[in-house]
Point group: C2
Chain length 368, copies 2
């Protein structure tokens, strides 16, 4: 594994050198983890000009959720009272002879950036921009394996919930139970705050669980995902409680399902991101739900639950093979409820069988 | 309640006016909530020069954990594809005739700050610095009521756990159960990631739960807290599993308990923050544990679980009445385990009976 992280760092170093920076200081946690295998809270990675150093504000905890730094990374734990690892990293870069230091301007606050300027006034600060995020876009086999396991855990947790009695239980309890099951099946934790939405809440994106209880006739929509070794996936399903769904429920479900299928089927290397969004959105807009749609219908996943690419009308760029994304249209009708269907898939060329579906729980409209 | 939020905003407006800013743009979530009653994800508050406007990137969800904006706040939901509420707020300030806009440089990233400069080039950007954090330091009666309820919920959740069978259960399960109980008793959620540490893990600050099971003879240390209407408190306790604690366990427990009591007793208006840290730390250092102590022995709590003041050797400033803080010394002996004891208290003058203890679970060394 160490070679893998070293190769990622070399790629970034080459890029920084090409733009005139002899050193880079990475502070965004997911980027630090991508380049070193570990992201202790608040840590910063100094890349060159001498050895690569992971500067930590506190000793590593050894918790699995923190990951473990690659063997060839020098880990420096700052004395407890010594302040900001970012400032210490800049200081170290200057001592090692760097003249220009590239930092993550999209992560550092203005106040921290200014503190760097004060501590190392002779170091020129440049912007590494989203160079690491760009590297993270296309996943390698190890990353996709982690996502597959995360999805498997997620399907298991959801499957078990479906076998239990739901009527009368609150959204909060169902969400906590799902999170417990994720952990039982080997997740480091939930990938994001589990969403359970019943009745009039159903179909709301990112709905946070309340004390409302599941009732007969409700739509029940859930959104959850496992975090496995830092990699996060996402599933969303909507069910109906009781024996026979009402006509409006079947109609709305079929519509969202058709939209989600259209989006999934549009995934292919070379396809524009906004084209996938357009085909997903199109059916829902034609049915008069245009105003009820969110700003995007899918997004990348990986070390963060919401990363590039975005599937939205304004998105630039095209999909590549080995990019994992969600396809997750939903419609929420205020006062009534709604439907969300969400899968995590990996973009693959036609020759390899097309998009690889990671979250395989059925998308039939189940009556529970 | 609306008057309360209006008064807070007036105080901030006056301060900004005194430093030459005709408008302020607040983006740090806890600060937005303090000034408006609500902090939808990513929202920004524009204060003057015309009406106060809460700019949101998405419709309010109505979730209790999000709070509710005061009646006199104008809420503007940006069209879904319109981007950053901070940029929209700066634009609005310029349209309303502001010439200088104070922003939170300790919250905005360099990249976002630069985007503001591009969108409203004629607006001078100033720094509001930590003005809102300074206002938040001393809590009013409503805030202390919320903290009291948060502490009551926390004590209940912990008390119930102590009555259940612990041996053989994993840290992860105990942590999830504590979080479920917090919610059962009325919390909006946990105030921070619940920590359950057994055996060799015990006493580690912020230990994240693993699959290790509770064993006879273990120290078990837990850290948890409820979030009630946005206000967060904290408790930490250490227990022994089995009937008779070992001598080293009793000795270490008594030592940490004495240190924690010394810290609690030192809390009074006018006392230097570093003095409280010094008396807490002193006993542990004398016993040879100096190297094992963290950078601080307590901190403020409120809308964030870790806010000013910090109780640390380098802390500047003095305590005031109505400032809630934690006192939480701990010693972890690698390979063996350790003890943490943590309370949330409100600083009160001697005449009012001295510090008010919010977390009242016993600090006797219980054998469970």
């Amino acid at each position: 594994m160490s070679e893998l992280y070293a190769a990622r760092r070399t790629r970034l170093r080459d890029r920084c050198a090409a733009t005139g920076s002899t050193a880079a200081l990475i502070s965004r946690p997911a980027n630090v983890r991508y380049l070193t295998g570990s992201a202790p809270a608040g840590a910063a990675l100094l890349l060159g000009p001498a050895a690569d150093v992971l500067l930590c504000g506190a000793p590593l905890t050894g918790d699995p959720s923190e990951g473990r730094p690659a063997d060839d990374i020098r880990v420096t734990v700052l004395p407890a009272r010594d302040g900001d690892p970012v400032v210490a990293g800049a200081d170290l870069a200057a001592q090692a002879g760097a003249t220009t230091l590239a930092v993550e301007e999209h992560h550092l606050t203005v106040a921290r950036h200014r503190a760097l300027g004060r501590v190392v006034p002779r170091l020129r600060l440049a912007d590494v921009a989203c160079a690491v995020e760009a590297q993270r876009l296309i996943k390698d086999d190890d990353e996709i394996s982690c996502l597959r396991i995360a999805a498997e855990i997620t399907d298991q947790a959801l499957g078990e919930l479906l076998e239990s009695i739901l009527v009368g239980r609150t959204e909060r309890h169902l969400a906590l139970e799902l999170e417990r099951r994720l952990v039982d099946h080997g997740a480091d934790g939930p990938a994001f705050a589990t969403s359970v939405a019943t009745g009039p809440h159903s179909g709301r994106p990112g709905h946070l669980p309340t004390d409302r209880r599941v009732e007969e006739g409700d739509f029940l929509s859930v959104g959850l995902g496992a975090n496995y070794r830092g990699y996060r996936c996402e599933i969303g399903r909507t069910f109906v409680i009781g024996t026979t769904p009402a006509d409006w429920q079947i109609e709305l479900y079929d519509l969202v399902f058709a939209a989600q299928r259209a989006g999934r089927e549009a995934l292919a290397p070379g396809v524009e991101c906004r084209e996938v969004d357009r085909v997903t959105r199109h059916l829902l807009e034609s049915a008069g739900h245009g105003e009820r749609l969110g700003p995007w219908t899918g997004h990348g996943v990986g070390l963060e639950i919401d990363e590039d690419p975005q599937l939205s009308p304004a998105a630039m760029g095209k999909l590549d093979a080995c990019v994992p994304v969600t396809v997750e249209p939903g419609v929420h009708i205020p006062g009534r409820g709604g439907v969300r269907i969400d899968d995590t898939l990996v973009v693959r060329p036609e020759a390899d069988g097309g998009p690889e579906l990671l979250t395989i729980t059925t998308k039939e409209l189940l009556a529970l």
